[in-house]
């Protein structure tokens, strides 16, 4: 029923033609074959991507002005990046276990992901502390201000992810929902984790390369 159609095909349908009427009457009312959570997440990721892109544009534009002084990248940032990579990998494993229906392993993996996410946030705060104690305040140079801004916005995205991770985990442990429903939620969270990893790598790469 849900034959894949491009936007162009959808927009050039002729709803008054006989064949099209027949086809349209069979339509189930869903445009893409995705759960509403997954499509909702994609919508939010699109909006988030625009947000981060605009930050990056602002960063690149502001960088050209002569008062720009690059900030050192503490080695701890590499560690945090590593934590984020591992948490993304573990989440990927979680979805595989959940698909196979291995309850214990899925549960442990979910807990581990949560632990890693909190560690990442704490790690970022420590980086902030280190930078501030060595005199790199937001007001000292705009490059520092951008660093604090990026880490804050990215961190807030992680906090949002932790909220939904918590809801999903508690639903999973209570076993109140059907397997397909809960797996859909776990998959959705995992996609979001990969997205936040990608965003971080782009932001970190941008700050490293400039």
């Amino acid at each position: 029923m849900n034959k894949k159609k491009s936007i162009f095909q959808l927009l050039t349908e002729k709803p008054w033609e006989k064949d099209q009427i027949e086809a349209d009457n069979q339509h189930q009312g869903q445009t893409v074959n995705l759960s509403k959570q997954k499509l909702g997440l994609r919508t939010l990721m699109a909006a988030s991507t625009v947000l981060f892109s605009l930050f990056i544009v602002a960063y690149s534009d502001r960088m050209l002005i002569s008062d720009w002084k690059n900030m050192p990248e503490p080695w701890l940032l590499w560690l945090n990046t590593g934590i984020l990579v591992i948490s993304s990998l573990v989440f990927h494993m979680t979805t595989k276990y959940a698909e196979k229906g291995i309850f214990d392993k899925t549960k442990n993996c979910l807990y581990f992901v949560g632990f890693l996410a909190y560690s990442f946030l704490i790690g970022q705060l420590i980086v902030w502390y280190q930078l501030m104690s060595t005199g790199y305040y937001a007001t000292t140079n705009v490059a520092n201000a951008f660093f604090y801004l990026f880490t804050t916005i990215h961190g807030l995205h992680i906090v949002g992810g932790i909220y939904f991770w918590g809801k999903t985990t508690s639903k999973f442990i209570k076993r109140t929902h059907k397997k397909e429903e809960i797996n859909n939620l776990i998959d959705t969270c995992a996609v979001y984790w990969h997205f936040l990893l990608a965003v971080w790598i782009v932001l970190f790469g941008l700050m490293l390369s400039s």
Partner: protein, 609 residues
């Protein structure tokens, strides 16, 4: 009708993958629902029913009332400004207060009234009903969206009561002056404004998520995208624009908040203020302008596209005629939406930029006039030889076409760099954007309220009061804005609280100011008449029939009118056609609702969709 369905089995064979559809020869056949019915939240207490409601219809009304309430404040502010402009001798407002009122009037009208009313109000009310859904996709998030909006409004209003008052930086909030001493409200006022905008964007994102997912995924069976009413197309496309445009506002607001609170230098250049060198260094004010207008121009279409959609439906229903060029209308909506992201710098011709940059944006601005003109032609061709009912919604729609055309034409002038430079910052610009983005959408809003009022209350609004309201509003707004075009040509600058004895400004121009102010007061008073009508008709208005305008779209086909919680009773509707089958030759009734099965249509010679 009959020969339509003779080839049914042949046509079906194209869909061989779908086993259920081949079996039945019945022309009404629609396959069984493959998707489960939506789980519906049922409220249990007074609080969850009337305050923290999760019913989209109710949220829509909450949104609309909050937006209109805020908009009334914007209206009163415009009276105060106009009295100052007409009678500067009274010493009515000092320059600071004038700036503050200009700023708050602009921001309230654009963001807190029009955006909230079209998307939050009409979006919530109409999307589930017109798509044939029971509710929005995420009702809880929808409720949060409304309450975030309420908090945003409260923060905005709070700025009137803080030391220094609200910000007076103009609705564009350009740094550096927005956060520099000397501008009214440069400490607390601007911070509250920025926080309020950030909250608005957060709230809107939650609402917008709902609108997009509901339109895409929760439609009734048989409701393809190309069978949707144009209202939904307008609201949907505007929502997509908003999801991409509001982040730019968010970025600008966040960075300016930091500049102001922490003293960072994102937008603030090194400068001397009141004899003191500020600590800021190297910031780029132009960067803010780009961010602001990357949001600001799509914002114009976030307001205009729902108006386009709604007015298309009103014109079709009230002239009993199929909308002319449905597909072209959809394409125009989508095309305008896409193009609206490539025209922003035409707001910045005098900010200083590479001439080629201006050339590029002048070109794109002229290109966007093409799909817009297509829409205007199609509206007129819809009316052509239609059975035009001069009901209130029709009157307002006709008023919209003329006003929008008017404002659009002056937009063509202003889109050209060479014409814009002398006219920039004059009343010509003020007249242009009030015509195209103020009066035109407001006329659609009035038409839409008169049209859908029975759907909400089950009663009709008073026709006579409505006609008085229309004529005063329509003629009055021309009395206000036509003279402003002339003032602009003469060179009267905008944003001045008084023009003193400027030798180049004639006394007749000053007399025009008095004329405009009197017109403003009269038009404003007429809106009180509308409010009176709106409130009293809810109890005293004539009881409405089930489908008072004999419209086809699904919102009028609910089992109860006004629709109940869950909208559709036990069975979700099934859709067999688009919503524009009016005056089908031979059919007994001059309208065929979208969910009427083909077998029940009496006597139609051709069954168009």
């Amino acid at each position: 009708m009959s020969d339509e369905y003779e080839h049914k089995l042949e046509a079906k064979s194209d869909y061989a993958g779908d086993a259920s559809s081949v079996s039945s020869p019945d022309i009404d056949s629609v396959p069984d629902a493959e998707l489960p019915d939506q789980e519906l939240y049922h409220s249990h207490s007074w609080w969850t029913t009337y305050v923290f409601s999760q019913d989209a219809k109710y949220i829509g009304i909450q949104y609309a009332l909050t937006a209109v309430g805020t908009g009334l404040l914007g209206l009163v502010l415009s009276w105060l400004m106009r009295i100052q402009l007409a009678f500067p001798g009274l010493g009515w407002l000092d320059p600071g207060a004038y700036y503050q009122f200009v700023t708050m009037h602009g921001m309230i009208m654009v963001v807190y009234l029009l955006t909230a009313l079209f998307l939050g109000g009409f979006g919530n009310l109409l999307i589930p009903l017109m798509c044939g859904a029971r509710d929005m996709a995420f009702p809880y998030v929808n409720m949060l969206s409304y309450w975030a909006f309420v908090v945003a409004v409260l923060v905005l209003l709070a700025s009137f009561f803080v030391p220094g008052g609200p910000t007076g930086a103009g609705w564009t909030l350009y740094p550096p002056q927005a956060i520099t001493a000397g501008t009214p409200g440069s400490d607390m006022g601007i911070i509250l404004m920025l926080i309020s905008l950030i909250l608005f964007v957060a709230g809107f994102t939650m609402g917008g998520l709902n609108y997009i997912i509901t339109v895409l995924q929760l439609r009734a069976r048989g409701m393809t995208l190309m069978r949707l009413p144009l209202t939904i197309w307008g609201i949907f496309t505007a929502t997509v624009l908003a999801m991409f445009a509001f982040p730019a506002l968010l970025v600008g607001c966040l960075m300016m908040t930091l500049d102001s609170l922490l003293g960072t230098s994102f937008f603030m250049p090194a400068m001397v203020s009141l004899g003191e060198t500020l600590t800021h260094e190297g910031g780029s004010p132009i960067l803010f302008q780009h961010l602001f207008w990357f949001f600001g121009h799509p914002e114009v279409y976030i307001v205009a596209l729902p108006a386009f959609g709604i007015v298309s439906d009103l014109l079709s229903v009230h002239s009993r005629k199929t909308i002319f060029g449905y597909r072209m209308m959809v394409w125009a909506i989508v095309g305008i939406g896409a193009l609206s992201f490539f025209v922003w710098a035409h707001h910045m011709y005098v900010s200083g930029m590479n001439p080629w940059f201006g050339f590029f944006f002048a070109t794109t601005t002229l290109i966007i006039a093409v799909p817009t003109a297509i829409k205007v032609y199609n509206w007129i061709l819809t009316l052509w030889r239609g059975n035009i009912q001069l009901s209130l919604p029709m009157l307002f729609s006709l008023g919209f076409i003329v006003t929008f055309l008017n404002g659009g034409l002056t937009g063509l002038f202003l889109g050209n760099v060479t014409v814009d430079v002398p006219l920039s910052d004059t009343y010509f610009v003020v007249a242009h954007f009030h015509m195209v983005m103020g009066i035109a959408p407001i006329l659609v809003i009035f038409g839409a309220i008169y049209h859908w009022y029975p759907l909400i209350t089950g009663r009709m609004m008073d026709e006579t009061l409505g006609k008085i309201h229309f004529w005063i509003t329509f003629i009055g707004s021309y009395a206000i804005y036509f003279p402003m075009h002339y003032q602009g040509f003469v060179g009267v600058p905008r944003r001045y609280f008084e023009i003193y004895d400027s030798p180049y400004i004639d006394t007749s121009t000053l007399l025009l100011n008095k004329f405009i102010t009197i017109a403003v007061l009269i038009v404003g008073a007429a809106q009180l008449l509308f409010l009176y009508n709106l409130i009293t008709s809810a109890r005293l208005g004539k009881k409405s029939e089930k489908n008072p305008w004999k419209a086809n779209s699904l919102e009028w086909q609910t089992p109860q009118m006004p629709p109940e919680h869950g909208n559709w009773g036990k069975e979700l509707p099934k859709v067999y056609r688009w919503p524009y089958d009016f005056s089908v030759p031979g059919a007994k009734e001059d309208y065929i609702p979208q969910n009427q099965p083909p077998s029940e249509i009496v006597g139609a010679k051709v069954e168009k969709t």
